[in-house]
C-alpha cells in the first residue's frame, strides 16, 4: 500500500537558517514562514532590528504573574509582611522571561536583551535586588537595540545595579569600590586599562546616586556626592558641583566611546554570534563601526552578519541549557495555560520553566557574579550538562514533566498523513522540530531508538510507535548535535 501523499513542511535554505538560528531562540515552521514572507533572512533580520515596533503579544504573559506589576516599595512591603517573598517574585520573573522567549515574535530583541542583561549582569538572587529587578530588565530591553552609551547610562546607576554592587547607600568620603571596579573591569574598558586609583576615582564619581533603604525610592542626593577634581583612565573633571549627575554622564559617555570598550564589547558580540575564536580583524572592524556610529548597536550587528566569518560559522555555537529549554519548547510547541494563583499553581508548567532551566545549569539572571555567565562553547559542554539536557528532552518529548498546565501535541497530531513511511515520518519530524531535512544518520538513529527495522515500514494511527513510543522519536530528534547548537 502506498504512503499517503503529504505536503512536506517547507524549510529555509542553509544560510537563511543560519542567520535565523543565531538570532532567535530556535526555528519553528511559523518563524520560517515569516522569514519567507519577509523575502528572506536578511530582510527579516532588518525588520527585527527596528527598535520602534508595536507591542509583542508575548509581553502580555507578564499578566500571569501579578506581582511583576508591583512597585519596589510594594514588593518590599509584601516581603516584609511575608505575603510574597522576594525569591518568589524573582522566580516569577524568570518564568515570565523564559515564556516570553518561547513565544515572542521579536526574537532578535529577546536575544539582544539577554546579551546585555548578561553583560551588565545583576543576579536576581542578590539581596534586595528583587525590588527593582523587573524594571532593570525592562530598561535593558528598551535600550537593547539602541546605543551602548544609552545602555551604560541607564544601567550603571539603575537602582538594581546600585543595590547589587553596594553603591545604593554610599559614603561620600570613602565610597565602596565595588561598582567603580566593575564599571571599569567588566562593563567598559576591561582589565589592563586601569589601576586601583582609577577604581577609587570612579567610585567617587558615582557617589550621590541613592536608593532609600526603607522605601526603595531612588534619588540623587547632592549631599552624598563627593566633590573635587577626579581622573579616571584618560578622563578628568573638576567635579565642583554638588550635583554630580553631569559628571557621571561625562564619565560614562567617555568610557562608552573609549576604543578599549569598543573592542571589548565587539569581541563579546563576536563570540556570542560568530564563534569562540573570532579573528582580531573582525573585532577591529566591528569596533570601527561601533566608534564611527557613536556606539549604535544595530550597525555593528549588521556589519557582523554581513561578514564572511559569520557566514562560515554555521552551527558553531553551543546552546546553553536555558536556550536549550526554550528551543525545545519552541520545537515541541505545547500550549501553556495560565497557572492559578497560590499553591495550586505551583506545579503548573509556566511555573516550572525556571526550575527546569536551573537544574540544567543556567537560568535568566541566575548567574551569581557580576561578570555574567560564560558565552563560550566549552563552558556548556560538560558530561553533566549533556546528561541534564538528554533528561529534559526525554521528559518534554514524552509529556512526562511538566504535566500540569500544559497541553502537548499528540502523536496523531504530529502525523503528516494517515499512513506514512517511517523514513518520511522522520524527515517530517526533523523539518517540524529542527527546521531542516533529515539525513541518513538521523533516520538510522531514529530507527534504532524506535526499534524499527525497515525504513519503509508504514506508520499509522494505530501503529505501536504512535500509540506507545512516539516520545522516542521526538526525543531522538531533540538529542541531535543540530539541536544542541544554534
Amino acid at each position: 500500500m502506498p504512503t499517503d501523499r503529504a505536503r512536506a513542511t517547507r524549510v529555509l535554505g542553509a544560510s537563511d537558517l543560519h542567520l535565523v538560528e543565531r538570532f532567535s531562540y530556535g526555528i519553528t515552521p511559523r518563524l520560517a514562514g515569516q522569514v519567507r514572507r519577509a523575502g528572506g533572512a536578511a530582510a527579516w533580520f532588518a525588520a527585527q532590528l527596528e527598535p520602534a515596533r508595536g507591542a509583542d503579544p508575548a509581553d502580555d504573559y507578564s499578566l500571569w504573574w501579578p506581582y511583576l506589576a508591583k512597585s519596589p516599595d510594594e514588593l518590599w512591603e509584601a516581603s516584609r509582611a511575608k505575603e510574597m517573598g522576594g525569591g518568589e517574585v524573582m522566580a516569577d520573573l524568570q518564568n515570565f522571561v523564559l515564556l516570553r522567549r518561547i513565544h515572542s515574535e521579536r526574537q532578535v530583541l529577546e536575544v539582544m536583551t539577554e546579551v546585555w542583561e548578561n553583560h551588565f549582569n545583576v543576579p536576581v538572587r542578590e539581596d534586595k535586588v528583587f525590588t527593582w529587578r523587573r524594571d532593570y530588565g525592562d530598561v535593558v530591553r528598551a535600550h537593547a537595540l539602541g546605543t551602548f552609551r544609552g545602555l551604560l547610562r541607564a544601567l550603571e546607576v539603575h537602582p538594581a545595579m546600585l543595590l547589587f554592587l553596594d553603591a545604593a547607600v554610599n559614603d561620600r568620603d570613602k565610597p565602596n569600590e565595588n561598582l567603580g571596579r566593575e564599571l571599569l573591569e567588566l562593563h567598559t574598558v576591561g582589565i589592563g586599562e586601569h589601576d586601583e586609583d582609577d577604581v577609587k576615582a570612579a567610585a567617587r564619581v558615582l557617589t550621590g546616586w541613592y536608593v532609600d533603604p526603607r522605601t526603595f525610592a531612588a534619588s540623587y542626593e547632592t549631599a552624598r556626592h563627593w566633590t573635587g577634581p577626579l581622573s579616571v583612565v584618560d578622563w578628568s573633571h573638576d567635579n565642583a558641583d554638588p550635583d554630580g549627575r553631569a559628571v557621571t554622564d561625562s564619565l560614562l559617555d567617555h568610557l562608552a566611546r573609549h576604543p578599549a570598550t569598543a573592542r571589548r564589547v565587539c569581541r563579546m558580540l563576536a563570540v556570542k554570534f560568530v564563534s569562540d575564536t573570532p579573528s582580531d580583524a573582525l573585532v577591529e572592524s566591528l569596533a570601527a563601526v561601533y566608534l564611527a556610529e557613536d556606539t549604535a548597536i544595530v550597525p555593528v550587528l549588521q556589519h557582523l552578519v554581513a561578514s564572511d566569518e559569520f557566514a562560515a560559522a554555521r552551527g558553531a555555537k553551543v546552546r546553553d541549557p536555558a536556550a536549550d529549554l526554550v528551543a525545545t519548547y519552541r520545537a515541541v510547541r505545547p500550549r501553556f495555560s495560565r497557572p492559578p494563583s497560590g499553591t495550586s499553581g505551583r506545579r503548573h508548567a509556566a511555573n516550572m520553566l525556571n526550575y527546569q532551566s536551573s537544574t540544567m545549569g543556567s537560568a535568566p539572571g541566575a548567574w551569581p557574579q557580576p561578570d555574567g555567565q560564560p558565552i563560550d562553547n566549552a563552558s556548556w559542554a560538560s558530561p553533566a550538562r549533556m546528561i541534564a539536557s538528554l533528561r529534559m528532552h526525554w521528559y518534554v518529548a514524552n509529556g512526562y514533566f511538566p504535566s500540569k498546565g500544559i497541553r502537548y501535541r499528540t502523536p496523531q497530531q504530529w502525523l503528516p498523513a494517515k499512513r506514512v513511511r517511517f523514513d518520511d515520518l522522520v524527515d517530517h519530524m526533523s523539518r517540524e522540530l529542527l527546521g531542516r531535512k533529515a539525513d541518513k544518520r538521523l533516520v538510522r538513529a531514529c530507527a534504532k531508538a524506535c526499534k524499527i527495522t525497515r525504513p519503509s515500514e508504514r506508520i499509522h494511527r494505530r501503529h505501536a510507535l504512535v500509540k506507545w513510543h512516539f516520545g522516542r522519536l521526538t526525543s531522538t530528534i531533540l538529542d541531535t548535535p543540530e539541536h544542541f547548537t544554534r
Binding site: 570613602k174 565602596n176 526550575y355 557574579q369 561578570d371 563552558s379 531508538a449 548535535p481
Partner: protein, 411 residues
Amino acid sequence: MSDQTCCEEFGRLDRRTVLRAGALAGTTTMVGSAVVTTRPASAASADSVLVVLSLRGAADGLSLVVPYADPVLRAARPGIHVPESELLATDGFFGLHPALDPLLPTWRAGRMAAIHAAGMLVPNRSHFAAMEEVEDAAPGSGTRSGWLNRLVGDLPGGSPLQGFSLGEGVLPISLGGPEPVFASGSVDNVGLLGEKQGKFRRERERSLSMLWNRDRTVLGDAMRQAMAAVDDFQPAQQQSSRVGTYPSSDLGRALADVARVVRGDVGVEVVTVDQGNWDMHVNVGNLSGGRMVKQAADLAQALAAFLDDVRAFRDEVTVVVLSEFGRRVKQNTNRGLDHGHGSVMLVLGAGVRGGYYASWPGLENTEDADLAVTTDYRQVLAEVVHRRFPAAAVSSVFPGLVYDPVGFMRG
C-alpha cells in the same frame, strides 16, 4: 525577609556563588551556591583523596583565625573584631573564631592546620583575575590548565571514564584543562534518562552513538564522556546519603554528596567544592549577628559533618580550604571589609600535622593596609600534593615553583 520560593532547588542560587573568569574550559555542576566537581582518575580505589574547598568571594582570614596578639587588629576593627576571651584553641598569638567550634575535636586530635598570611605573592584585587591566577597556579607559564588538572594528569591510572560531573554550571579553573574531568550537581542525577528504561536503555545508547560518534566538537566529547561515566559511577549512587547530619545549607548538601562519592570508592582522587557568600563589603558583624558568624558556622558544621561521614576513609581524605585573596585590615564605613591580599588556609584530615603556621608580617592600621603575604599559597598546595600523591611531580603541577615546604604535613 522571607525569601521562600516554590521549589527549594531554585531558591538556593545564592549571592556570590561561584566566581568565574570569562573564558573557561570544561563544565560543572551546582548544588545551589555550592559547586561540586569530581575527577575519577581511575576505576581502582584511591589511596589519597584531596578535597579542595574554595571560599568564593575572598574570605577574611583575620576573622577566621584571629591573630589576637597583634595590637593593631582591635584598633583597626573597633566594631567587628572578635575579642580574645571568646577565641578557641588560643596559643598566645592565634585563636580560632568561636563559630569554628564544631572543628575543635579535629583540631585537638592534631588533624587540622592553619597556615596564615598565605596567598599570591603579587596582590590582585579583582575576584575574577585573582581566581584565574590562583587556580591556574602557574604564573607566567602560559599554561591553559588548572593545577588540579595537572595533578590528575600526573597520576597513574587514566580511567576510560573521561570525565565526571556532579551538577550544573561551569568547571572551576583549577580543574580545567586537557585531562577530562567530571562534574555533577547531585550524585543521583547521573543517568542517561530520568527513569529506568530497562531494555530501551541499550537502544537509546546505540541511537545516541549514531548521532554523535562523528561529532568532533566539545559537545561530542562531552556526550561520549557522559555515556562512559554513567555506568562506572553507580557505586557512588548506591551509597546512602547522610545529609541529615549536615547543616541545611548548599555547602552541607554538597559535602554530603561528596561523601557518597568518597564512600562509593569509585576511584575519585580530586574533588572541588565551593562555598559562596564570602564577599563581605558590608555587615561583617560580630558574635551576636552579621554575616561572618553565620558563614563561619556553616563552614565549620559542614566540614565537621563531612569528616565524620567519611571517617572510614580518615587515612585517605585530606581537605584544603582556601580563598582567592583576603580582605583589608581596617573595617570600612559599612562595618564591612574591602578587598585585601593575604588570608588563611586550612588543611584538615589525613597526613596533617595540626597547629598554627605563619611567618607573621605584622599588621598596619592605615587606609589600604593588607595582611601581607609571607607564604606563597602554592607552597601549601605543593606540600599537600608532595605528601599525599607521591606519584605526582611538584614541578609539573606547579611549574617554576622552588619547593620549600612549610612543614604542616607529616612525611
